[in-house]
Symmetry: C2
Subunit: 449 residues, 2 copies
Amino acid sequence: MLSSLADVVGSKHVLTDPDVLAARSIDHTGRYRGRASALVRPGSADEVAGVLRICRDAGAFVTVQGGRTSLVAGAVPEHDDVLLSTERLSAISEVDTVERRVTTGAGVSLAAVQTAALSAGLVFGVDLSARDTATVGGMASTNAGGLRTVRYGNMGEQVVGLEVALPDGSVLRRHSRVRSDNTGYDMASLFVGAEGTLGVITELDLRLHPIPAHRVTAVCGFDSLDLLVAAGRMFAEVDGIAALELVDGRAAALSHEHLGFPPPVAGDWLLLVELAADHDQTERLAELLDDAQLCGEPAVGVDAAAQQRLWRVRESLAEVLGVYGPPLKFDVSLPLSAICEFASRSADLARRQVRDSLPLLFGHIGEGNLHLNVLRFPVEREADLYAEMMELIAGCGGNVSSEHGVGTRKRPYLSMSREAADIAAMRTVKAALDPTGYLNAAVLFSPSP
Amino acid sequence: MLSSLADVVGSKHVLTDPDVLAARSIDHTGRYRGRASALVRPGSADEVAGVLRICRDAGAFVTVQGGRTSLVAGAVPEHDDVLLSTERLSAISEVDTVERRVTTGAGVSLAAVQTAALSAGLVFGVDLSARDTATVGGMASTNAGGLRTVRYGNMGEQVVGLEVALPDGSVLRRHSRVRSDNTGYDMASLFVGAEGTLGVITELDLRLHPIPAHRVTAVCGFDSLDLLVAAGRMFAEVDGIAALELVDGRAAALSHEHLGFPPPVAGDWLLLVELAADHDQTERLAELLDDAQLCGEPAVGVDAAAQQRLWRVRESLAEVLGVYGPPLKFDVSLPLSAICEFASRSADLARRQVRDSLPLLFGHIGEGNLHLNVLRFPVEREADLYAEMMELIAGCGGNVSSEHGVGTRKRPYLSMSREAADIAAMRTVKAALDPTGYLNAAVLFSPSP
């Protein structure tokens, strides 16, 4: 099989060095470890399709790898797999400023797309902390969200065209130039969020947006989470809302203590609000803030430097949450009405198991998409808390994955968010497109009994 | 089979009167005629599933019927089918004003959803002329667009939950209460736009929106279509854009002549623009209109009465286009850069075939979604023009269906908008969910060779 793979991608793009394979077979937390037989780096959609055909015919499993930033072990091989890396699918087209789109290879990083958009005077609608490493192929496969979802939607809403190598070794191309299209099934939506189980996304046409000429940012403090949620609910529907981020006041205090960033305002719960539009929003924001029940004066930033300082309270979290070692992370989606209940019950749950643990909440309040990070919780005891937390989420009417996907980590809990007939239909689609089940077999579905 | 069906839905809901069946077996233009063996009216998702199971086991074909407003013969039986009407799936829930959604049966009319939303102080994001007859089930199945797409998106973007009876007689339920959800395949997106070929949508959770507090409307005249398209391109990205409708000046003149509505402004091409937001947009609209190259002063409406008068130039088209008998209708999607070329070449095409014919263009310019209506074109000669027009659309980089779907009418042209591997993948999904192909067999796909 290796020589056939080399015939397709060139021998220098078939790697079998055990150290390389070992490094590529664990997730970034080191908790999930698998085994791989080779790493292949195809350079085009046709090469990807060729690799898939050879692996399928040889009975080999294939795991697709982009930036490997998955927080749910979405790219860890389970069966001595061939690792298919998208790193050489790295082309970016000229930006089409009329139709406002750009075509990129699946292996292009989010940061590279953002840069290309900005140089053409446009903006890409998705932003998240892993921007330098995460690839747009992986982000489409997991339908990633992030900091701008409240304005532009998730990754799927940016995808206007797609090229996918299918498990049977054919290549599906859908590079429509039009904005409106009702000719048959929305196959693109099927591959978005499928976590690579139905095909390998090789190229994407991505929507770009005009850069809002005016932007105003505020950080507000609240005495209680329910007052913050009420304000968030109001802001989520405001024209021009550009970001709406919840930060636990204790996380802001940790940033102060460990990174030296004082929180911009006092408050047990902080809300970062940004409005952006083609006309000035400062006055409008002030009016809206008057309607919210803050616990003090908000900190408002009207220029880029001030805005960057305000954003630090949110952006520093990625670093500060690791001060006590890797935190236990939960990415959950909740009805707005259940957020307060979840916050208090999840904290109780964590502290009941480990008295000294520190549960901190942040996230994208506009979509009810929260990230619970439990600090000071020993790795060896996490399995129990994980299961209980999933039960709690489901009990609150929430969803076990909001923007990180299911991966390997959450596949035992899929049935908490999808009913049996729904999962059966998903499996039917999977079996139709990948009858032998060799593609990304470790994610999404639990192994059949 | 009929007695089994009666056991499921009750005998009074199994109709076999030949007149009823004949009336239900033609499309509204009278050009597509089929045959049906019975009309069944199930009253719940489980009854729909029961009907499907019986028909599948009996080898009967099933055609689903909602409001039967399809413009592409989307509900005409071809095989002596059982007609499955959604008319008894007519419940509407209380509006949830916190999560801003409402749950409705598939057979509920668009107008009923709009009314329910308005009584709760909210607005539904889709509007189209067939509002009193079109059902939300059919609209989701065809991913209908309409007059508000530039602001709120198509029907699919309003669907946040779905209940679908599958061809195997199971019922898939997905009534998520959360806004953000990444647990597995986006099955809802697969049923939206599938034209009933993958299952029967029985119930929908629909997103509602706040009513914009301020609204301002203008009708502008242009000397040429390319100036109008340039203005449309600018307006399409403006924050608060709420409608962007192209009207052929000759169509406006016909409204004047036949219905007594004088056009609000002079111009070969008219553009209706509406901005709506939570704050006043009048000044903003005036600024934007200054940047566009109108051929005279725009007509601006700031109150509801004036706005209704302005909308008449667009709303009257449904009636006025029929003054010379049923027009030949094309629903097409074009890249913005190809609209002018299409307008002139399509007019040439029609007049080359029938010298006296009158091609009129209108539609949703923000999405490049145009409706070409050819008046004074004899029905018996339409087949040739249809095929040539489809070729022209494809040649312009456009799409053969923008918001009306494929139905029976356009299935010979599907391959102009979808590549072979794409159609093959669609057929694979269809075969997986409906192996015998009994459900809505007349639409979307051409019969296998």
